[in-house]
């Protein structure tokens, strides 16, 4: 019998943990470091790929994602070495999606050509706002003009270009956001990630918020209004959400991220990267050290970057399947849910269906539009005993 992960496929995530500067809202594993010995990093990535290849012989790679941090600080040469190692390790699917996250400054845009040559076929740009004042407040190093120029470069070099915007920013108005969103949709883009600003603990914004000094953030109702507007405006433009925060023209969805949401298998390499692998019938979670130095030294001294490898038990597998899967507009496959032992949850699911928060159709269970906005509550309810 086919293993469950095969429903979504197999991918590779590469984490580049360095940034030019730390943004005040960001809680990603990113570090500001003056000089990075990139060939040493390429060596480490190569060793990790080879190690995983030995365990996953015969798998076909569906997608690769360079995430960060700021992967657009990587030399094209470094990217090429990683991709070559991956090619040597696994056969690539014909339509293998290879994405690199880029910050839209001119310096970085200058490297885009090199990335295309190395094999990158999709760029995801962190534009964040189409308004210079807000970009400054977000601590970004680019302005709107830089972002536009970088976007144009990307557009000519890559088949697929996406960018990220953050909304529900300080003092942002509903009308302002509507207008900004329309301008974003007018750009020749095929995919957009629209994230509501999250105040994360342990970030500069988190500290200011705790001290009561981060003003002008929307309350729950205003945030919900912004969310509603986001759904409306994108749907009108043929960019309906295919996931909580992701919008695409039909066919332009991010395959790599769908692989996460649909509980596929993925290898995660680089500091703080997580992986999920089905081996000998069990599903394993892997983790690596967060600190860049610790990760690379671990590889150089022990031959492995893994800090943790543990099996995920049935209950946790089911929880992950739901919490990832219900984010997708299509929802989850009922047969897969049953196979993972989810029959016990149907009672809870029915209650949510009767509240019009979930719906069951065509063998799928999905969140209704109003359900998707309160998905965390839905998950607590589904998983409650």
């Amino acid at each position: 019998m086919a293993e469950d992960w095969q429903e979504a496929g197999f991918g590779l995530y590469v984490h580049w943990p360095f940034c030019q500067a730390k943004c005040p809202y960001c809680d990603f594993n990113s570090h500001v470091v003056a000089n990075v010995d990139q060939s040493r990093w390429a060596d480490a990535f190569e060793r990790e790929i080879a190690r995983y290849a030995a365990e996953t012989d015969g798998r076909v790679l569906r997608s690769i994602f360079f995430g960060g941090g700021t992967p657009s600080l990587m030399q094209p040469e470094t990217v090429a070495r990683v991709l070559n190692a991956a090619r040597a390790a696994w056969p690539f699917a014909n339509d293998c999606e290879i994405t690199l996250e880029a910050n839209p400054t001119s310096v970085e845009a200058a490297r885009f050509g090199g990335y295309a040559d190395a094999g990158i076929n999709r760029i995801s740009m962190g534009i964040q706002a189409l308004n210079d004042d807000d970009l400054r407040r977000l601590g970004r190093l680019h302005d709107v003009a830089d972002a536009m120029a970088a976007f144009d470069v990307a557009r000519t070099l890559f088949d697929r270009v996406s960018f990220d915007l953050i909304y529900a920013r300080q003092e942002q108005t509903l009308l302002g956001w509507k207008d900004e969103l329309r301008r974003a949709l007018d750009m020749a883009v095929d995919h957009l990630s629209l994230y509501q600003l999250t105040i994360e603990e342990g970030t500069a914004f988190g500290d200011r918020y705790a001290a009561g000094r981060l003003r002008g953030l929307p309350d729950e109702d205003r945030a919900a209004d912004m969310w509603d507007v986001t759904q409306e405006v994108t749907s009108e433009a043929g960019f309906a959400a295919y996931e909580v925060s992701n919008h695409a023209r039909p066919g332009a969805e991010s395959r790599h991220n769908l692989l996460y949401w649909k509980s596929g298998d993925y290898v995660g390499i680089g500091p703080g990267a997580h992986g999920r692998l089905t081996l000998d019938g069990a599903r394993w979670a892997t983790e690596t050290p967060l600190a860049p130095g610790a990760w690379i030294e671990k590889i150089e001294t022990t031959g492995s970057g893994e800090a943790l490898r543990e099996t995920i038990d049935h209950a946790d597998r089911l929880a992950e399947f739901l919490l990832m899967g219900l984010r997708v507009t299509d929802g989850i496959d009922e047969i897969r849910l049953s196979r993972l032992g989810g029959d016990v949850l149907f009672n809870n699911i029915s209650k949510l269906v009767s509240l019009d928060l979930l719906e069951r159709r065509d063998g799928h269970i999905r969140a209704t539009p109003q359900g998707r906005a309160v998905l965390n509550s839905i998950l607590r309810e589904i998983l409650s005993d």
């Binding site: 995530y13 992950e320 990832m324 998905l375």
Partner: protein, 599 residues
């Protein structure tokens, strides 16, 4: 065995925090009763909860030997008492065991409500009173003004008041001398039949029940066969002793002495404070007058948050009750909260103390329901029943009328806050009885319904007077009023734990305030929730908690799966801290917070 003329027995009384326990420390220390290395602040406040809150809850007795300036050694038995009004009963019975009182007044604060209450009790008990002006080390100390106040307000001579700093030790010697010189020695006849007062009793994990006694006449010895005249119980005395402050055994206790006995008594409940202890054979014929027993005045339900902990809660409550006769309990079942206990307390502080101890010492999370006083229901058939729980209110067609407990409250307040205090008392259905001035301070006496006071009156009083008012009360009796039961319905289901008795004229306002509060306290759910207050079938206030609109994580990629899953687990555990009423989760704190009124 000490000669009567060389014994002095006294209690230390004062308003809360005026320094009784600290003064006791200095008296103990300067007489070398306790070795220097064993000394610590408020030595007598031994319970965890006392040390943590910095207050005295249980009265404590110590025997000290003092070599006076006249060259003679005196035995001094001091009783440190609590200042908080909830524990006023501890003060009154302590006073029955002694002949005099040290009245401590904080010289930076002056006379406060409990100062007055304590003085009246001391006068009632025929005590000699030695006034002490404490905290003279503080810059704000104003002894002359406070002495004058004592004379004006209390009407006792304060010219000889001793100026003390219990902190630095200034005036301690003078205090000891005044005790010897001004307080009378006890009276008693060594050859008369044994007559001893049962002052207090508590449970000690090593010794079992320990009984604090004051010998009036006769001599008590180890091995004696004794009889409690009130309960009729008979025991053989296992051990007698005194507190120094550790329990120290002695061979006998004679007239005028204060000490303890143990006698394989099983529970504190088997003893009755105020009872007279005598010898089984050749005992006295005339018992002491006894004390009025303390009555719980505030009742509330205690339920385990996790219903599987009911048995643990039972054990905890039984253990605590073993040692606290003023705490009562009986089993209660609630439609929404399951099994729990209806408990009676001396006041809200007492309630909090017990609740804290259950939560901490026994590690049980509790839901505390609305505190209520005891109503008297006069039924149409002529009978009277006590109502301890508003949820048990019978159908009104059977009830002729309802009476509620009333108190006489004494409030001392600087005159600039007088208006606010009067308004607060009026708002709480008070009837003014008296208003007088002593210098810049007003003394207001009000007749108030206890039900309007138990909950948050003291908090409100503190906040409208910036902490400058003091408050004391006594129960005075029951009076009829137009009282009705108000129910709260959440999502159309009545929540019995939130039912309360209210005055009909105030029901709408209370109902509205309650619904608004609950609207803030209950988290939004995935559906909208009507919150209503009703009397009988009639809705008198209504709010709607709108449905949750936004609760979704913006970013969730491969690296977030583990974190999200663990967060969900944690939230599931957090949900256990709430109780489900129908489909609605109500957080624990809502039950108490919903009742706090803002005016």
């Amino acid at each position: 065995m000490t000669d009567l003329s060389h014994i002095r027995n006294f209690s230390i009384v004062a308003h809360i925090d005026h320094g009784k326990s600290t003064l006791a420390d200095r008296l103990i220390q300067s007489t070398n009763t306790v070795a220097e290395r064993d000394m610590k602040e408020q030595l007598l406040d031994a319970m965890d909860i006392e040390r943590e809150r910095g207050i005295t809850i249980k009265a404590n007795t110590v025997r000290i030997d003092y070599e006076a300036l006249d060259g003679q050694t005196y035995v001094l038995n001091l009783i440190d008492t609590p200042g908080h009004v909830d524990f006023a009963y501890e003060v009154s019975r302590s006073m029955r065991a002694v002949e005099g009182s040290l009245l401590v007044v904080d010289s930076t604060q002056g006379v406060e409500a409990q100062t007055l209450a304590n003085v009246y009790q001391a006068i009632d008990a025929d005590h000699e009173i030695v006034p002490i002006l404490n905290k003279i080390d503080l810059p704000a100390s104003d002894c002359d003004r406070v002495a004058e106040q004592i004379e004006d307000v209390i009407g006792i001579d304060a010219s000889g008041a001793i100026r003390v700093s219990a902190k630095t030790g200034v005036g301690i010697r003078e205090t000891l001398e005044a005790i010897v010189a001004h307080l009378p020695p006890p009276k008693g006849d060594r050859d008369a039949p044994l007559k001893a007062m049962l002052v207090d009793s508590w449970y000690d994990s090593y010794l079992g029940v320990v009984v604090l006694v004051r010998i009036m006449d006769g001599v008590l010895r180890k091995g004696d066969q004794i009889r409690m005249m009130g309960t009729g119980a008979r025991y053989g005395v296992d051990r007698i002793g005194v507190f120094r402050p550790p329990m120290t055994t002695v061979d006998e206790l004679g007239p005028g002495e204060i000490g303890f006995l143990t006698a394989s008594i099983k529970q504190v409940r088997d003893t009755r404070v105020g009872d007279t202890i005598t010898h089984e054979k050749k005992g006295t014929e005339t018992p002491l007058p006894g004390f009025k027993p303390s009555q719980p005045v505030v009742f509330c339900g205690l339920f385990p948050v996790d219903s599987s902990e009911f048995e643990d809660l039972r054990t905890a409550i039984e253990k605590l009750a073993l040692n606290d006769a003023s705490f009562s309990y009986e089993m209660e079942t609630s439609a929404a909260l399951g099994f729990g206990f209806r408990c009676g307390f001396l006041g809200l502080l007492h309630l909090e103390v017990i609740r804290d101890r259950i939560e901490r010492e026994y590690d049980i999370d509790l839901i505390t329901t609305a505190p209520s006083v005891v109503y008297h229901l006069y039924m149409k058939d002529g009978t009277m029943t006590e109502l301890h729980n508003p949820a048990d209110m019978p159908d009104l067609t059977y009830v002729d009328h309802v009476e509620e407990p009333r108190i006489k409250a004494t409030i001392l307040v600087p005159d600039e806050f007088l208006g606010d205090v009067l308004k607060l008392c009026q708002d709480r259905r008070g009837i003014q009885l008296d208003l007088t001035y002593a210098g810049q301070r007003a003394m207001v006496v009000y007749d108030l319904p206890l039900n309007e006071v138990v909950f948050d009156f003291y908090d409100r009083l503190k906040s409208v007077t910036k902490g400058y008012a003091s408050f004391d009360y006594q129960l005075v009796g029951y009076r009829e009023d137009n009282l009705v039961k108000m129910q709260v319905l959440v999502n159309d289901e009545p929540v019995d734990a939130l039912s309360m008795m209210v005055h009909r004229d105030r029901a709408e306002a209370r109902g509205r305030a309650m619904c608004e509060k609950l609207k803030d306290l209950i988290p939004r759910h995935m559906f909208k929730i009507p919150i209503q207050a009703a009397i009988g079938g009639k809705v008198i206030a209504r709010e709607t908690l709108s449905a949750l609109r936004k609760d979704v994580t913006a970013k969730c990629y491969g690296g977030d799966a583990t974190r999200k899953r663990k967060l969900l687990d944690k939230q599931k555990a957090g949900k256990k801290k709430m109780r489900q009423f129908g489909k609605v989760d109500i957080p624990q704190e809502a039950f108490i917070s919903a009742l706090k009124m803002d005016s």
